[in-house]
Symmetry: C2
Subunit: 257 residues, 2 copies
């Protein structure tokens, strides 16, 4: 039910001349792959994982500014709004080129365009969601999918009684059709919202069909080949991390008394 209204720029492609091919290359990402990434950083000018993780935040904040009619921001303002330090922000942005005017700041629309480019949001990605439980339901209705180049082409579930149902305008199809759907729509991103017991199996099938990016909501460590990126979203892990800090704060408070 998260209402997200992120309107994808639509800014013109002017000044595209300043876009030089950024040769991106990085070692494996923070997925839960069995083999931890190691040595090779074949070409330099790779944008670090930490930076990539922050770019979407900057993008969102910038979008808000653009909607508010703000044309220019300084690193100070942008950093403040994004919740990071100004120096870090400038260094992050510097990794994707020298877009910005000294003494002035950054042009909002232009920066939106550049970040979108670097993140690959100027392209289109087909997404399939596997598992139509409460969570799958919520994900299907999530506005974030519809925007910025992501399109949910299918919902898939193993429960035959759910097949045919329509959720958020998308028809539910049976798991057996997974392979067909992926090939048909050239799905590149798979979202796993199944019970833990089914996750690895589903993941294997996705990977077997050529899906190279997986977003995993199931509480398991997925085993995938090297070239596949897995990102996991795990509620109970987040809770446990909060619990740790909660305890730490309680102990400190206790010690003070």
């Amino acid at each position: 039910m998260v209402d997200y209204s992120p309107l994808f720029l639509g800014s013109s492609e002017r000044r595209a001349d300043r876009w030089l091919g950024v040769s991106v290359s990085m070692a494996g990402s923070g997925g839960a792959s069995a083999s931890d990434a190691m040595p090779r950083q074949s070409r330099r000018n790779g944008i670090s994982e930490a930076t990539v993780a922050r770019l979407p935040v900057y993008l969102r904040v910038l979008t808000g500014f653009a909607e508010g009619g703000i044309a220019t921001v300084s690193s100070e303002q942008l950093a403040q709004a994004a919740g990071v330090g100004p120096a870090k922000l400038r260094k992050d942005l510097s990794h994707l080129g020298s877009y910005g005017t000294r003494g002035v700041g950054y042009d909002v629309e232009y920066l939106i365009y550049q970040i979108s480019r670097v993140l690959g949001l100027t392209q289109h990605y087909s997404v399939v969601i596997v598992g139509v439980g409460n969570l799958g339901h919520a994900l299907a209705g999530y506005a974030g999918f519809g925007t910025r180049g992501f399109r949910v082409v299918a919902l898939v579930d193993a429960d035959a009684s759910r097949v045919g149902e329509t959720i958020a305008g998308i028809e539910v199809r049976h798991t057996d059709e997974l392979e067909t759907i992926i090939k048909e729509h050239e799905v590149s991103i798979g979202v796993i919202a199944t019970p833990a017991s089914a996750a690895q199996d589903v993941c294997d099938r996705l990977v077997g069909c050529g899906v190279t990016s997986v977003l995993n909501f199931a509480p398991v460590v997925l085993n995938v080949p090297e070239q596949v990126d897995v990102r996991k979203v795990d509620l109970s892990i987040e809770l446990q991390i909060l619990a740790f800090h909660e305890q730490r704060k309680a102990l400190v408070a206790q010690a003070r008394s």
Copy 2:
């Protein structure tokens, strides 16, 4: 599921010896004293954030092993199952004490207990979920809440038409009652599953009532005082990170041809 009660599960008597004989190994950080009551250990917790983020994973894997009747694991096995390197795992575990037997490995039950204790899961946490949309619905039904010391004491929504409804055995109450509920149940963790526009406001109210840990699902950067911990789960950020890597892989493939 996991019984992390501070009781001895005595399959072997030697464990009790070690339990009491826990030696202080880390510089300055006295591991817990023999009593599990966690006394005045005002000593700084030398556990790094990165390690804390991995402990829940280890805990989950260990739980699986315990259910499978496995009594002992080596760092090799555990690391494999958790998707990390063996050295990293050993270093992580070493930060919470020297629990493990050279030449043998770690006692599964005992390690479960220790990790649970360090994470603060031996205590009880009351949780309130704000926002009963699709996502709030899914969260309420999420089994991860029910286990390991987390209890959802209330669902809250601004929409009066939803009030009174019962979801996953929990009654939905109106946002106006938020302050009452928090005080009444001593809520320490707040989950924000509202639209982005309401998130900061809800957060302020939570913090105002003394909540010091927030799990935020709304796509906004929350502004909170120093002592409050916020963790955010953001679907569209995850997608955009995947998009980046997807593009990277496409570029590499293209360059190869």
